[in-house]
């Protein structure tokens, strides 16, 4: 659990965070989204004290972070950043093992955990564990970065635009993997991004941060349907809000159960955006829906268009 209580922070004259309060629950995937300079990265860094607060309190599992020894605090919290920051003089395995080594795990435990993470992050190219970072692709480097953040099984992981520099395909595959890992392990993740689609894809809850304050906090659909003001409305998508909504909802929730249709079926677990893309590709306005291998119903274009919030 992470709590911010009336947190304030300024760089010289400029106010970066103003009287901000927020509570992130255990096991939650929480996304802070906002434009550059909104203070979201700074807010994230107050949790592991890479940034100190000028006023207010940040608590991790009920303890004021300023009362915890700095290195111990950081070793207990996973951290991944956009520039990755792998150690160039260490192999992939050594990079992943960083925090377990700092925590003085036994060699056997470290080895087992590294192997587990290489598997978990799909770093399954033969011999990759002994390679150096500069021989890896950008996507592989960030997989190692995420593996390193998760290595010591932290209960809280901070991620600062970790996928921001990756191509769309790699980014989406890593998003899917991260979301699955988070769901399986129950890790609390605080994730910063300026990409609204990424925020909606990953976040259980999303906070829109504007000018050093939280403009709105809620589930993705709440933000789309009930933006508190025009600033939030503009930021979450303006006229594209409905298109975004399709990415958040699944086919299963909107299909006509038992109906029939021709064409290549879509999966019940797919997003409505995927279904729409499939309709456009097939030039059809209705498609069959498949669940566990069987056709269970149909999805209809008119329903997507007419759908009430």
């Amino acid at each position: 659990m992470i709590e911010f209580e009336h947190v304030g922070k300024r760089f010289g004259e400029r106010v970066v965070i103003e009287d901000l309060s927020l509570r992130i629950d255990d096991g939650e995937f929480f996304v802070l989204v906002g434009p550059s300079g909104s203070g979201k990265s700074t807010l994230l860094r107050t949790v592991n004290r890479l940034a100190h607060v000028d006023s207010g309190i940040v608590r991790v599992d009920g303890r004021d972070v300023s009362s915890v020894e700095r290195e111990a605090l950081r070793r207990g919290i996973g951290y991944a950043i956009q520039s990755v920051g792998l150690f160039p003089h260490r192999t992939v395995a050594e990079n992943i093992a960083t925090v377990p080594r700092l925590l003085a795990w036994s060699d056997a435990d470290v080895r087992a955990r590294v192997a587990e993470l290489i598997d978990l992050l799909r770093l399954d190219e033969p011999g990759i564990a002994d390679r150096y970072p500069h021989t890896l692709s950008g996507g592989q480097q960030q997989r190692v970065g995420v593996a390193r953040a998760l290595a010591a099984r932290p209960r809280i992981v901070l991620m600062d635009e970790p996928f921001g520099a990756l191509d769309p395909v790699t980014r989406e595959s890593l998003q899917t993997r991260l979301k699955a890992i988070q769901r399986d392990t129950g890790t609390t993740i605080l994730f910063v991004t300026h990409d609204m689609d990424e925020a909606f894809r990953l976040g259980d809850r999303v906070a829109v941060m504007l000018d050093g304050g939280l403009a709105q906090v809620g589930r993705p659909l709440d933000l789309l349907h009930r933006p508190v003001d025009d600033r939030v409305r503009d930021f979450v998508g303006g006229t594209h809000a409905r298109l975004r909504e399709l990415a958040v909802r699944t086919v299963g929730g909107s299909m006509r159960v038992g109906d029939r249709a021709d064409g290549e079926p879509v999966d019940a677990a797919d997003s409505l955006q995927d279904a729409l893309a499939s309709m456009l590709a097939q030039r059809r306005d209705r498609l069959p829906v498949r669940e566990r291998g069987a056709i269970v119903g149909a999805i209809v274009l008119g329903d997507l268009v007419a759908r009430e919030p």
Binding site: E71, A72, P88
Partner: protein, 260 residues
Amino acid sequence: MRGVDASLRGLGRAPFAGRLAPTLRIVVPLTVLVVLLLVLPHSGDWFHAWLPELSHPLYTRTSFAALTLTHVWLVAAATAASVILGLGLGILATRPSGRSLLPTVRAVAVIGQTFPPVAVLAIAVPLLGFGSAPILLALVLYGVLPVLGQSVAGLEQVPASTLHAADGMGYGRWRRLWEVELPLAAGPIMAGVRLSAIVSVGTATIGSAVGATTLGSPIIEGLIGNNPAYVVQGALLVGALALSVDGLLGAVERRFQRVR
């Protein structure tokens, strides 16, 4: 940067000829040095044949082996002191708390470099007396700058993202320095150490002008006594020694650079 790393990493897998070159840079000058030490004491007849007008064609006041040994000792001591001072100041000046010292530290080191060694000797002799002490001081003043400069350069080129990540992982300040910064700066630092040592090998010769026993003794005596044979004997040994030191420290430097 990556291109350089890749080519350096490639050294380990280079074909035979590629691997031979660095080895030759050590073996050849060392062999020459050893052969010179063995042969020179018995070369009186050759120098006599070349310069028949000299009554003493071979330097015999101190054995060449003893001269080489004291010369090496002087250079080693001066280089060690330069590394301790240069690296220490370099580390200090790149810490957040010491960053304000950086311009001052640089200025002092540059002043040390602009002072001619002979001038250092002239000032040092009245204070320290004749012998090895004044030349040791001059060598250290001279040798600090390359080590300091390269230490600062090496430490500052460690990627900021790597340091940021190291902080975020929970490295303490000194552990980060030892496990992350110094290994990544080791290549440039060793280049500075090598430069410092080579400069010292040459500069140490003038120590003989103030009573230190070095390979400069035959050179200076030869210059004063109009005996070119002495000059040649000293110069040959100094040259071979300088190339040997360069080859050895160069190999260490490449080892460190391959760490990346």
